[in-house]
Symmetry: C2
Amino acid sequence: MTASTLDDYLGQHRRRVEAALAAALPGPAPDDLGGCPERLASAMRYSLLGGGKRLRPVLCLMAAEACGASWPEAMPAALALELVHTYSLIHDDLPAMDDDDLRRGRPTCHKAFDEATAILAGDGLLTLAFELIVRGIEPAASAAECVRILAEASGPSGMVGGQMADLEAETRAGDGEDGSAAELEAIHRRKTGALLRAPLEMGAVIARAPDAWRDALARYGKAVGLAFQIVDDLLDVEGDEAKLGKRVGKDSGHGKWTYPRFLGVEGSRAKARQLAQEAVAALVPLEARGGRLRELALALLEREC
Amino acid sequence: MTASTLDDYLGQHRRRVEAALAAALPGPAPDDLGGCPERLASAMRYSLLGGGKRLRPVLCLMAAEACGASWPEAMPAALALELVHTYSLIHDDLPAMDDDDLRRGRPTCHKAFDEATAILAGDGLLTLAFELIVRGIEPAASAAECVRILAEASGPSGMVGGQMADLEAETRAGDGEDGSAAELEAIHRRKTGALLRAPLEMGAVIARAPDAWRDALARYGKAVGLAFQIVDDLLDVEGDEAKLGKRVGKDSGHGKWTYPRFLGVEGSRAKARQLAQEAVAALVPLEARGGRLRELALALLEREC
C-alpha cells in the first residue's frame, strides 16, 4: 500500500471529484440559442457544488482502483452517482416532502431559487447522470450495466421507493405507531443503502472485475451503507450542529423512527461496529487490494459529520 | 405497403404499447419485503395508464419498422419514451409549475394522490425509463446510444430546459412582454420537439440503420414535432373541450405566447402544412419504407385532439 494516510487518499479523490463535477455541468446558454437556460444551470450548479462528503463518487473510484482500473476510467460513473444523490436531496427538501430550509449550512435549492426551478434542477441532474455514464464509460456493455445498476438503485424499488416508504413511516410515527428496527432497516436499505452499494458494483463493472470481487464489493457496500445510516442517526442525537450544517435532533422529534430509538445509543453503536466488521470480512476475496476500503469501513465509525 | 388504413395501423401499435406498458411497471410489493411501495406503484400506474395518444412510442415502433427491424425489438425504447413523457406531465402539472387539476379528463396525479407522491412517481418513471432501455435493447452499443438520445432529449438542454424556458416566458408574457414566433419556437424545440424527434432516432439506432436514414428520420422528427405543437396551439384556440379533456382557451389567457398569437390562425395553419411537407420531403432517402410515416405527417394536420 502507499504510505499516505486514509484522509490524504480520500481528500485527493474528493478534490478530483470536485474538479470533474464543476466541468460536467452544462454552462448557462443564452436562451435564444437553445441549450440549458441560465436559471436552471445556476440552480443545478448551486446544489451540486455546495459541498458534501462526495462519499458515493469516492467509493466508486476506490472500488475501480481496488479492482485494477485507473480512477479516471470510473470518473463519469462517479459523477453520475453524485448527480443522483444531489437530485434526491433537492427533491427531498421540497415543501411537499421534508420541507427543509437548510442543507449543508446554506438555503436549500427551492429557498435559494423557487420550487419550480428546484423540481426541474432535480429532474435535470437525474437525467444528466445517465447521459454522463453512456458518454464516458467504455465499452458500451460496461456503460449499459452501470446504467442498470444506477437506475435500479435509485428507482421505484430503490431510493425513490425508500423515500416514499419513509414518508409513510413518518405519518405512522406521527400517529403514534411503534414500528421496529426491522421496518426501519427495510426503509434505509432502499432510501440510502441502495445508492451506497451501487458505487462499489459500478467500480467493479468498470474494472471488469471477476464476479467474486464484484459480489464481495456488493456485500461490503450493503454493510457499509447501513452502518453509515446508523452513524447518521447517532450523530443526529449527539452531533454538533455547526459540523452537520443542519438542525440537530430534528429527526428524533415527532416520534420519528431512528436506530437509537429502537436499539438505544449503545445498541446502535454496537450494530454499526458489527456492520463495519461484516464489511471488512466481505473484502477477503480482494486480499491486499481491499486495503483502503477496509480502512474506510473502520473510519466511518469515527465520523463526526 | 399493407392494405390496412393508417388508423388501423396506428391503433394496432397503440394497443401493443398499452399492453406492454401495463406489464412494464413494478407491481406493488408489501413494504416489509422491500420493492416498490404500493402507493408509489399505484400513482405511477394511474398516470401512465390513464390514456393518451402514445404518439412517442408509436413513432419509435414505426421508425424501427421503416428501417427493417421488428416492432418488438424497439418496444423497450418505446415504453421508455412514454414513461419520460408521463413523468414530465406529472411534474409540469404540480402546483409549483403549471398548477393543473385535470389531465386527460381525470384529476392530475397530485390531486388523485398528493404532491409528494406525484413528485416521487415522476422521479420513479424517469429512472425506470433508462432501466427499461438497458434491460431490453440489444446489443449494448444500441442500448447505450438510445440512453444518450433519450437523456439528451429530455435533460437540461432538452425537455427540462424547455419547461424552464416556458415558465420564464410565462412570467415575461404576464409582465406584458411581446415575445416572437422565433422565441416560441426556441422553447418548443426543447420542451416538446426534442422528445418527438428522439423516437425516430432511437428506432433507427435499434434497426442499425445507415446514417442517411437516421439523419432523414431526425429531420422528419424535428419537422413533425414542431407541426404537432402548432396544431396543439390551434386546437387550444378552436378545439372541443370534451375531446381534449382539458379546459380550452387556457393557454391563450394571460397573454400567453402561442403560434396563433404570433402568426394568426391562418398563418399557423400554413406553417403547420409547410412543416408537414418538410417532414415528407425528409423521408425521400427511405423510399417506400417511409410510407406510413409519410401518411402520419399529413394526418397530423387533421388532428382533432
